[in-house]
């Protein structure tokens, strides 16, 4: 098995096909979207492929060290052009193809008009444990 991060971007990635911002959906469409995400996670738990799922607040701050004895320097939030992570799901699956298949399924979550979002999800493999036998 190998673990993959399915990364959902608020912005920064290519635009989804069904590109209507969520605040322009009907409440029923929002509810249907949320239900789809919950059902998807539940199904993965059932197949033994679910590891973790989290959503992130849109408020992000950049922080850096500024030398001994000085408070950290903060910056941001940045302009709309910056990449912004909305949330993630971690899956543990048998093959890379299975990871793509699940990401595509997640991307089909319904949006405006109840039609699939077709949003772009980023699939990133985890670094695996090192094998014992190498030679």
């Amino acid at each position: 098995m190998a673990k993959y991060l399915l990364l959902k971007h608020y912005r920064g990635g290519p635009a989804p096909i069904n590109d209507v911002p969520m605040d322009h959906w009907t409440p029923q469409e929002v509810a249907a979207h949320m239900q789809y995400m919950r059902d998807f996670a539940a199904r993965l738990e059932d197949t033994g492929e679910f590891v973790d799922s989290q959503a992130l607040s849109a408020d992000g701050t950049f922080v850096r060290y500024d030398g001994p004895g000085r408070p950290p320097v903060t910056d941001g939030p940045f302009a709309e052009t910056k990449d912004l992570i909305a949330g993630w799901m971690v899956i543990d699956v048998e093959t890379y193809e299975r990871a793509l298949e699940l990401a595509a399924e997640l991307s089909a979550a319904p949006g405006a008009g109840g039609r699939p979002l077709h949003e772009w999800l980023e699939v990133r493999p985890f670094l695996a444990p090192p094998p014992t036998i190498t030679e």
Binding site: M1, G48, F50, V51, D52, D92, E94, P131, T132
Partner: protein, 387 residues
Amino acid sequence: MDDTLLRTLTPAVIGILVRRGADFAAAEDAVQDALVEAVRVWPADPPRDPKGWLVTVAWRKFLDAARATTARRHRELLVDREPTSDPRPGEAVDDTLQLYFLCAHPSLSPASAVALTLRAIGGLTTRQIAQAYLVPEATMAQRISRAKRTISGVRFNQPGDVATVVRVLYLVFNEGFTIGDSGDVDLACEAIRLTRQLAARTTHEEVAGLLALMLLHHARRPARTRPDGSLVPLADQDRGLWDTRLIAEGVAVLQAALARDRLGEFQAQAAIAALHADARTAEETDWAQIVEWYDELVRLTDSPVARLNRAVAVGEAYGPRAGLAALAELDPALPRHTAVAAYLHERDGDPVTAARLYAEAARSAPNLPERDHLTRQAARLNAQRRR
């Protein structure tokens, strides 16, 4: 209380319950419940006959569960099965061996077979297995119950294939996170324990080959990583840290298997590990003989990984140019192809190409220790160049 002793009894107790008429899935659950109770009760009140105690408690748990769910149907089934509950006299059936076959059944995915083997034969809890593979306990529980459903139609006493069992045990040894001393599950040790137990029950050469392979690699474990967790390549390992007792045992197991003249891939791999173990210094390594064993391995498996490792051995035995020539015949998209090329170019006196390839290999490394190692190699060569 000795947790391992308790876990050793697991497969035999499951076997007895199945012979009494329980289906495998229910028997396995009942024995897990009995193990939990043993951990609670035994320290204060150790039984005279641990196995008998487990059978009694597990059987009671099984009956309780059967009554609680579909009471009447189960009781009828039990009555039906009672006459066949014990093996006929003279019929030697090894329940534990049958469990190995069942848990590695070809209908299971490798990950499911691994999880089921660790629980039903290893006696580990779902939580321990989940920790070892870094997934939530609920996910691992699902994986195990799906695996049980998949094999629910398989007859318990059906003859199985040792080759699939060997593959599952190899995965447990080679592809788990090493929880090591900090956690309570050490998959490498558990894989060795389960393979020893299997080797005591079958004369199959590849089981012996796998056991030898595990012992020879496990012997090098103390030398394989620095205290900070970074990898030490074989050539740089402090050979004084190798466990000579494990090496001697591995070599003896391997020799006995090879003497039977039915070579398989695990015996060939173990032979390579034995040749490394045999060298007192890296320079004394008999690379020519290692190349011959890789030729055998390629013949047996036709595996691209074996071909790649063979190219490294050729480079050591016959010079980096010969190694690069062997490498040129392989698909550059192979994992670790670039890392091998970097190593051979450095040996060939081309640090510029080597540094570039090490950096490239680091970017596509499949795990963190390997990535760090390759990055350090690139950094070392780049620093030498600046001097």
